[in-house]
Every structure is written in C-alpha cells, then in structure tokens.
C-alpha cells in the first residue's frame, strides 16, 4: 500500500467513502507537521483532532484512522481521546457553534433564559444543528468571562453581556450572512476556520479587537483616577541597598 494516502485508500476500498470523507494530502501533511512540533509526537494528538474537525467538520472515522497512522497508535486509542474532550464532535457542526454558558453564575444572571430563548427561536435542542446547517446550539460550562455574564461564545469567541434579545439578533445576523464581531475580538470566522487556529495554524487576526474589555479594566480605571500604584521598586538602579519608607 502506498504510504501517501494509506487511510483514504483503505477506506475507499472498504466502504467507497464519499470524497468529502477522504483526508487530502495537505491535511495529512499538516497532521504530520503538528506531531513534529513536540518532543514526543503523540503530544500532537489534541491539536491534530482540532485539524480533523477543521478539515472535515467533525471527528470522522477517517480522521481518527489518519491520526492513528501518523502517531503509530491504534484507532481505538485515538477514539478514546476524541470521546473524552467536549470540543470534539461526532455529528457535523454548523458554520457557527453557539455556546451559551449555563454554569451557575451565568445561569443566574440570565444564561438559562438566553438558552431557552435560542432553543425556541432556532427550533433545536441542546447540541443540535439547525436544518440549514448554519448554527449548532449547545449549553456550555464556565468560559472564564464571569465578569461579563451572561456570556455566549460563538466559535469560541466572546459575546459578552448578552440578553435573550441580543442573542437572537446575533444568530439571526449570522444566518443572514451579516458580519458579526465578537464583543472583545475580531469579526467571527466559521467554526472550521476557528478549529484550524486551535490546531496551531494562525490566521493572522491576532491584532483585531481591543486590548481588554471594560470589565477587565474596572480596577485599573479606579487606580488611575485615584493615582494608586504598586510601590516603587526596592532595587536602586545602582544596585545598592535602598532606603525603604
């Protein structure tokens, strides 16, 4: 068997897999590239699975085989990892993954109502995708943005301080193909594009968006107003012992 498309060929022979299920040569090369970043190749598995999702829209059997092949481990081992982590999806994900935080703080601040409203509006349940394939809705756990509660994530970008109305607006705009920006980041890309960045292939958009959102600056603003600072350094520039006050 040729070494270039081992998985794709095997699959094609066995099941006549649809062309979209076959990993192309570029993706296979990139999987190897990820593994080569690490002192031990298996460390690349998490980013490699992100790349599979980027290329195929979900974790496919072909993607699992490819990772196993590249790392020289069994497909069962890869599968065990893929099923452990919640960001890996077995079913196709829409263009936009919408996650509503319903952990306690966000739930209390309105996340539960936002999630209910979106389920109704999109006519989907948890972890389901709209019929047009545009939106996958999921309730998520704490995403480290509690000072912006209630929080929604779209393709893992922050949508801070949401209301049921603003959340509906966001998904409507996304479905209408209008540009939507993260409240603390760039214009939203697709879920598959986002997964590629997570695989360690940057998309050159780091410079978009602000340095920090308003809540991140709450304490600093007060310190500036009052002239509060950390004490001065205790090291004299001469390196001599300084007098402390």
């Amino acid at each position: 068997m040729s070494t270039e498309y081992p998985v794709a060929q095997g699959q094609a022979q066995a099941e006549a897999a649809a062309p979209s299920d076959v990993l192309d040569a570029t993706t296979l090369a990139e999987l190897r590239e990820i593994a080569a970043r690490y002192p031990e190749p298996r460390s690349g598995l998490l980013p490699m699975l992100h790349l599979v999702q980027s290329a195929q829209g979900r974790i496919t059997p072909e993607g699992i085989e490819a990772c196993a092949e590249v790392l020289g481990i069994s497909a069962a081992e890869v599968n065990g990892v893929a099923t452990f982590y919640t960001m890996y999806k077995r079913r196709p994900v829409g263009d936009y993954h919408v996650g509503v935080c319903t952990n306690t703080l966000c739930a209390v601040m309105g996340g539960d109502l936002i999630f209910e409203r979106l389920k109704e509006h999109l006519e989907v349940g948890n972890d389901e995708t709209t019929e047009d394939g545009s939106i996958t809705l999921e309730h998520i756990e704490c995403n480290a943005a509690c000072d912006y509660a209630p929080v929604m994530m779209v393709n893992w970008e922050f949508m801070d301080n949401q209301t049921p109305e603003s959340a509906v607006q966001v998904v409507d705009d996304l479905r209408a193909g209008k540009p939507v920006h993260s409240t603390r980041g760039p214009r939203l890309c697709t879920w598959r594009e986002a997964e590629r960045v997570l695989a360690g292939f940057p998309d050159d958009r780091a410079d978009e968006g602000p340095t920090a959102g308003p809540a991140s600056l709450a304490g600093l603003r007060i310190a500036r107003e009052k002239g509060w600072t950390a004490p001065a350094s205790t090291l004299a520039s001469s390196g001599e012992e300084t007098d402390r006050d």
Binding site: R37, E40, L46, L49, T86, T104, A107, S216
Partner: protein
C-alpha cells in the same frame, strides 16, 4: 502604606495594542531577561523563594520551593508547563491577562524556565478561547523573531523553545497531572502521586507546572526585587493578586490588589451590590471553595484568613449573589457541572457526583424530605477525602457549605412544593427593583 489597588499585571491593560511586542518593550518588557541571565539559575530560584510568591492557581504552594524540588542531577530534560486551562467556575483572570498582555506571560516563562534549567516550555491553554490563543501564538512568534526565544537568547547561551498547546474542553485538565496526560495526547485523567511531577512529570521527566498568574508575576519580581513583592500583602500571603468580581455587583471586573484586601473593600470599589439589593452568599475562590455569607465580609482575603473562616482563597474568583438568587438552584447547577466534568477514574467521584445530583434535583423540585439533607451530607462524606483528586473534594464544597448556612432555604423548597424564587429577578436584565 500601600495603595488599595496595586496594578502590576494589569498595569498595561489600558495601553494601546498592549498585546504587541512593540508596546510591551516600550514599557521595559523583556529587560528582566538580561538581569536574570547575569544571575545563576539557583539565584533566580532564591529570589522567587524570598519574594514569598505562592501559586496563584488555587492551592497557594510556594513557587520558589516547587522550583527547588526539580532534581538538577537528573539527566533527563526538564520541562516548564504553564497551566492556562482556567476553567474553575468563577475564575476569569488568566484569560484577560493573556488577551491583553501575552508577553508578560512569555517573559515569565523564559525567566522561570531559565531558573529550573528547562529548554522546552509549554502553555497549555483551554481550547475554548480562540482570540486568546491567537494572541499567544502571535506573542510567541514575535518573541522568537526578536531573539527572546530560540537559541542563544540575548547572547546568553541559553536556549528555550515555547509551544502553545490548545486543549479541547475538559475542566479536569486544569488538575496538573491530568493536564500532563492531555499534553501527552491522552485522556485527561489524573495520575497517582508520588511520583510528583517535579520528579517524573511530562514524558516522565522533571516538570514544573505553574498557573498563568504565578508565572506572569515573575518578571516583576526579578525587575523590582523580592523585597518589593514581599512588601505587599500579609505575613504569609505576600504580594498582589487579581481579584475577579462577578455577579450582582455594580461594576464586576478585575481588581488587582495586595493579598489581604477584604470583600467589603472590593465591593465598595466596585460600586456596591446592585441597586436595591443585598449580598446573600459568595465564593471566595471559585465553586470548589465553600460558600461564605455577609458575615464574612471583613475576612482578609489571604490564604490563612479565608482558611480560618472555613473556606479557601482559591483563585480569588469572587462570585457574588444577592437575595434574589436561590442557593439550592445555584448549588444544583454547580453539582451538575462536577458530575459532567468528573473524569470517571475513581468511584467516589464518578458515582458520588451522580448521586448528589439526583438527591439535589429532587430537593430543588420540592420533592423528597428533610432526611435528604442528611443523605446529602452523608454522600459528601463518602466523597471528600476518598476521591483520587481534588475535583471530587471540590464537588462537596458548595453542598456542605450551603446546608450549613442555608438549611432553611432547602426546607422552604419542601414546604413550598418547589423553588420559591423567580428566576427572572436574579438576571442582569431584570427590571430594576424586581424582587424574589
């Protein structure tokens, strides 16, 4: 007298494009490298020991001491791993830090790796924060191009590679040995200790794992001196930390202050509890730290005092809930979180969190009996101290502390035949003056 707020890590967050190398260097960034390279690595460890810095990831272990445990006579490579998994409910300080000033972390990584003599370092960042990952990737790339990373850094002969590694959604991967499993491409299940990571961590080699904020504090210690750092904070909890206020407070956000500030002072700075309401309960350091009440407003927020008050300083994740919030609903939701995130490795946690959820859900619906409260406490007893890792222990914190402080509210669900609270009243978009 030290000022009430002491911006160090947050000090450049209002700067234009603070995330760029140019902005960071303009403020003296990366200058601490030359200072450190002029010192022996052991002297850098000593400086961090002297500063009194304790881990900012929750447990408060002395950072310099941890570094000192690395067996330098071990011939295997040494590794530094930054824990940027930030997933403990309520915790939201590392993410804005890496978004606003990733170079602070990168500079800290270089200093820390130099101290422990590691030539490879990793930042394990949770996958669910795309833009933060972009900024980290860019910062690392810029640092390589500027000669702060790679071979012969600043002509010192020291070389370091830094890899940004995105996780894939698992709270348990914040636990340091589960994190190592994740970083080795496996299911994130904690490892048996000993051996401790300092002896056999990543790839069975000596490894230091530190929280983002711990590592990001190192450049300021090297630049300003250990005495400067130790001059802030309290006797055994030195220095500053980022306090994250969320929930029913007028101005939620990040407040960087010396350890030992009180919640009363912080709420004052944050403009008070939201209009017309009063504080009911709060977590000092995430959902795994037992709930406190207004009675504890004057507890100094340092490791010792919060411990003496029956909780833990944890990650300084101050989640504040006012009287519109049902404590049973809050606790049930946290418990569902622990059940969902239990890695399944050990029985007390895997089965126990399932049982806790069942019992709590019944109570929340107003079904069950008062005896279920004792059942809950009994279930907690079977998990606390018997679980393989601290996730299981943490799962019991909200339950036992809420029963201790709010037993009557549980009973009210039974007499009321369900939850007596209106869930709309607690929301951020509730009409002003709404009450439970």
């Amino acid at each position: 007298m030290t000022d009430a707020l002491t911006p160090v890590l947050t000090d450049n967050w209002d700067a234009e494009r603070a995330w760029t190398l140019a902005a960071y260097e303009e403020r003296g960034g990366y200058a601490a490298l030359d200072k450190a390279f002029a010192m022996a690595p052991d002297d850098v460890i000593d400086a961090v020991k002297e500063s009194g810095l304790r881990g900012r990831g929750g447990a408060g272990f002395p950072t310099g001491m941890k570094w000192g445990f690395i067996p330098q006579d071990n011939p295997r490579p040494k590794y530094l791993v930054v824990n940027a998994d930030e997933s403990e409910p309520g915790t939201c300080k590392d993410i804005p830090l890496m978004m606003a000033s990733p170079h602070t972390l990168v500079e800290g990584v270089i200093l820390s790796a130099y101290a422990i003599r590691a030539n490879t370092a990793f930042i394990y960042v949770r996958g669910e924060v795309l833009h933060v990952i972009r900024r980290l990737q860019r910062a690392v790339q810029e640092a390589y191009l500027a000669g702060h990373l790679g071979t012969d850094i600043h002509g010192s002969g020291y070389h370091l590679d830094l890899i940004v590694h995105a996780g894939a959604g698992a709270y348990i991967c914040g636990e340091e040995t589960a994190l190592l499993e994740g970083l080795e491409g496996r299911r994130g299940q904690p490892r048996l200790r000993p051996p401790f990571p300092a002896v056999a961590g990543l790839y069975a080699s000596p490894t230091v794992i530190n929280n983002v904020e711990s590592i990001a504090s190192v450049p300021s210690i090297i630049a300003n001196g250990p005495a400067w750092f130790a001059g802030m904070g309290t006797e055994k909890s030195k220095g500053f930390g980022i306090f994250s206020l969320s929930g029913h407070v007028r101005n939620p956000g990040q407040y960087e202050a010396p350890l030992g500030i009180t919640l009363r002072e912080l709420i004052d700075l944050a403009g008070g509890i939201r209009e017309g309401h009063e504080l009911k309960f709060w977590t000092p350091g995430g959902s795994s730290t037992p709930l406190l009440t207004p009675e504890h407003l004057d507890v100094p927020l340092d490791f010792e005092s919060v411990g003496a008050a029956g909780s833990m300083l944890g990650t300084r994740a101050l989640q504040l809930f006012d009287e519109t919030t049902c404590v049973v609903r809050a606790v049930l939701r946290w418990t569902e979180f622990y059940k969902h995130e239990s890695c399944g490795k050990c029985t007390p946690c895997r089965e126990g969190t399932w049982w806790l959820t069942q019992t709590l859900a019944r109570l929340e619906k107003g079904q069950g009996t008062e005896a279920d409260l004792d059942l809950l406490l009994d279930q907690c007893d079977n998990i606390l101290g018997r679980s393989f890792c601290a996730l299981g222990d943490g799962a019991t914190s909200p339950i036992s502390s809420s029963i201790k402080h709010f037993r009557d509210e549980y009973l009210a669900h039974l007499t009321n035949g369900g939850c007596p609270f209106d869930p709309v009243a607690s929301t951020a978009f509730a009409p002003a003056g709404a009450s439970a």
